[in-house]
Symmetry: C2
């Protein structure tokens, strides 16, 4: 069992209305000093087997074909080594 | 300028219909070996100043009060050190 994380974000040149809405709300809520906010998606995939090169290549193909819309979105695939610490 | 990433995921005990839909679609699309998928949100915040302890505490407060719904969601705050590599 391994956990692989796929992060999908809008490409930098694509307008992000969700992120802009968050950014514009921040000063009203008392949070200053944030110059930009982008909002994207995070997928956590639990693999049955180990996260070897073959598995990662498959996840990358999966992300490209249907987790992300590569016309407007970039994605990154990485293996999550550490147990997620709650903040 | 520093980039801080806030990941917001549904708590493990909360049903995730989006993630389940993705998981159920995978075998049909030819991807086997994924036992679970969870979908969440990723926020990338660009800070005006450095990502010191005070700034991170502020971001954490922001995440808790309005980026995440802490009744059903967990969040993590981390500083993004590396430049995002496109896959």
């Amino acid at each position: 069992m391994a956990r692989v994380v796929v992060d999908v974000m809008l490409k930098p040149e694509i307008l992000d209305p969700q992120g802009q809405a968050v950014q514009r709300a921040l000063p009203r809520l008392g949070f200053a000093g944030i110059s930009d906010v982008r909002q994207g998606k995070r997928f956590e995939l639990e693999l049955d087997g180990p996260a070897d090169d073959a598995a990662l290549a498959r996840v990358r193909e999966m992300a490209e074909t249907f987790l992300a819309n590569t016309v407007i979105e970039d994605f990154t695939v990485r293996v999550e080594e550490t147990v997620k610490a709650e903040s």
